[in-house]
């Protein structure tokens, strides 16, 4: 029983993969059958999340689990369900639906193992299991050139970053003689140059996956070229999981190198905020715009982590939850409009309010939350992040981040203004929303409002750390 509870998320994902494989290899069925099967499996996943995760480890410390890690995995499982619901329209037009679900759930399994990894061996394997299916997914608008291009850029950058990571791991192994996180943490010292180099290499591997400046160059192209559900998955689920394991790596494994780690965090946080915001200002394509906005959001997480306290972890986990709802909401609207009409630029969405009121309100609320305007959850997310960052007394950094929030407000409101106030462009016709799409929009709006108004969410997370 203990084993079942410890491995519940992984077992649910494996079960989903097996069921989908059997369904795919059996006789051919209609697309809608596969879509409903996929929703059912993801729902099962969310149901499994309701059971509590015990503290414990398996396989000689390769796999560790705790209530906090279980909660993080539940966020990811819920996020994937939301994304699948928003993708309804796109999936109905697609001919390879079971493969889409298979690849997404394989990647999710990789992310679960990544969060739970207790050794660099497991970490490396899980990271590859998480990224390779995403690269294939980027290619899933099979006949669009842009989709091929996005997949190529994705696999090139992820292969390069995993090569850098594995070299960093080899140096770490050479100087400490172990791959297990607790052993490594014990034997690291802040004065050994080899350890510093290993930290820099691992940090740049993470920076690639998190699209932290200067390793962000692939982000905009991949986000723009991929199908919208895949972009959502990349920016919400995959990025969230990597933030979680990044916290573990910084606070548990590299704790002895904290002062140097803080320096790296501060430098990259400033660069990430600056570049993300400056480029987001001049984007015309909405997916590209959200790509740069997500780069800037990661900058805020880095600011919090540079604080170096336990509160940084709880603030980051809470922010990922809030960011999940807000970003899924924004991408859902972009995805629905894009799947129905092929329109993706801000100019083409001008005056969306006149034809699609519900979609416009959801998009506006999500953008408000991303910008951090008070009644929405985004405000509290940013507030806790900056509070956590202030623990290291780097007040200049906090002021810089707060200034960036003002700049961000400008470009988020530019989109809202285009949708509500400007005269319609070619008129996107009024769209009929399916039940799945309505459900997804309702859940993300509820998430944005409830996690902002109800203060228990942050306290519940903080209590687990």
């Amino acid at each position: 029983m203990h084993y079942l509870l410890l491995l519940k998320h992984e077992l649910a994902a494996t079960l989903a993969i097996v069921v989908l494989l059997v369904a795919r290899l059996g006789r051919n069925r209609e697309t809608s059958f596969y879509i409903h099967l996929g929703y059912l499996l993801l729902l099962l996943h969310v149901f499994v999340s309701l059971f509590p995760s015990p503290e414990g480890q398996l396989f000689a410390g390769l796999f560790v689990n705790s209530p906090l890690l279980g909660l993080q995995k539940s966020f990811l499982a819920f996020g994937l369900l939301l994304i699948a619901l928003t993708a309804d329209r796109w999936l109905r037009q697609h001919e390879y639906v079971p493969e889409v679900f298979l690849l997404m759930i394989s990647s999710l399994l990789g992310l679960f193992l990544l969060i739970s990894s207790g050794s660099l061996l497991m970490f490396y394997l899980a990271l590859e299991l998480a990224t390779l299916p995403i690269a294939a997914l980027c290619n899933f608008d099979l006949r669009r050139q842009q989709s091929s291009e996005a997949a190529t850029k994705m696999i090139l950058s992820s292969a390069f970053s995993s090569a850098i990571l594995s070299f960093g791991i080899s140096l770490l192994y050479g100087s400490t003689g172990s791959l297990r996180f607790p052993d490594i943490a014990q034997r690291l010292s802040g004065s050994d140059p080899l350890h510093v180099i290993a930290l820099v290499l691992l940090f740049s591997g993470f920076a690639f996956k998190l699209s932290v400046v200067p390793f962000h160059l692939w982000t905009a192209d991949v986000y723009q070229g991929s199908p919208v559900p895949v972009t959502t998955y990349l920016s919400v689920v995959s990025k969230g999981a990597i933030v979680f394991i990044f916290c573990t790596a910084l606070f548990q494994v590299f704790a002895p190198l904290q002062s140097f780690g803080r320096l790296l965090l501060i430098i990259t946080a400033v660069a990430t905020l600056l570049i993300g915001n400056l480029f987001a200002l001049r984007q015309e394509n909405l997916k590209r715009f959200l790509a740069f906005s997500s780069i800037a959001q990661v900058g805020f997480i880095l600011v919090a982590l540079s604080g170096g306290t336990k509160e940084a972890v709880s603030a980051a986990v809470y922010f990922v939850l809030v960011y999940l709802f807000s970003n899924v909401g924004a991408f859902a609207v972009v995805g629905i409009v894009s799947a129905a009409t092929g329109k993706e630029t801000i100019t083409e969405l001008r005056g969306l309010y006149h034809s699609n009121r519900l979609l416009s309100w959801v998009l506006a609320l999500s953008l408000f939350s991303l910008a951090g305007i008070p009644p929405t959850a985004g405000f509290f997310g940013k507030f806790f992040l900056l509070m956590a960052g202030a623990h290291s007394s780097q007040y200049a950094l906090i002021a810089f981040a707060a200034l960036n929030m003002v700049v961000a407000l400008f470009y988020y409101l530019r989109v809202v203004r285009a949708i509500f106030l400007e005269p319609p462009f070619e008129g996107v016709q009024s769209l009929n929303l399916s039940t799945a799409e309505r459900l997804a929009l309702a859940l993300s709006v509820a998430g944005i409002l409830i996690s902002g108004i109800y203060s228990g969410a942050y306290e519940a997370i903080a209590a687990l750390i």
Partner: protein, 102 residues
């Protein structure tokens, strides 16, 4: 010169030759080969460390084995994507793969 140093120089050399190749070559398949060089450099490092510094446990050996296996999986996905790219765009030159706005 002892064997460990010699192996580490080769491993690090492979890694940086690979990195240089990745950043300068523009043919996607050559870039794949460059990444494989980088991974092999890391695997060689792990093996050398395991054999000469920590011979009592086999952590490094296992990770090296897994790196080889993963490199194969990565190459499979990579080549599938490149085939698709070639069918769509008739090129494997990264400079010419730039439909998306720069």
């Amino acid at each position: 010169m002892d064997v460990l140093k010699f192996l580490l120089i080769i491993g690090t050399g492979l890694f940086f030759i690979g990195a240089f190749g990745f950043l300068t070559r523009r043919n996607i398949l050559t870039m794949l080969i460059a990444v494989e060089l980088m991974l092999n450099g890391a695997a060689l490092n792990l093996l050398a460390f395991n054999r000469y510094l920590w011979p009592d446990r086999l952590d490094g050996l296992f990770l090296a084995l897994f790196i080889i296996a993963i490199a194969a999986a990565e190459a499979a996905v990579f080549i599938a994507i490149v085939l698709r790219l070639y069918r769509n765009m008739r090129t494997v030159d990264v400079e010419r793969v730039s439909e998306l706005k720069q």
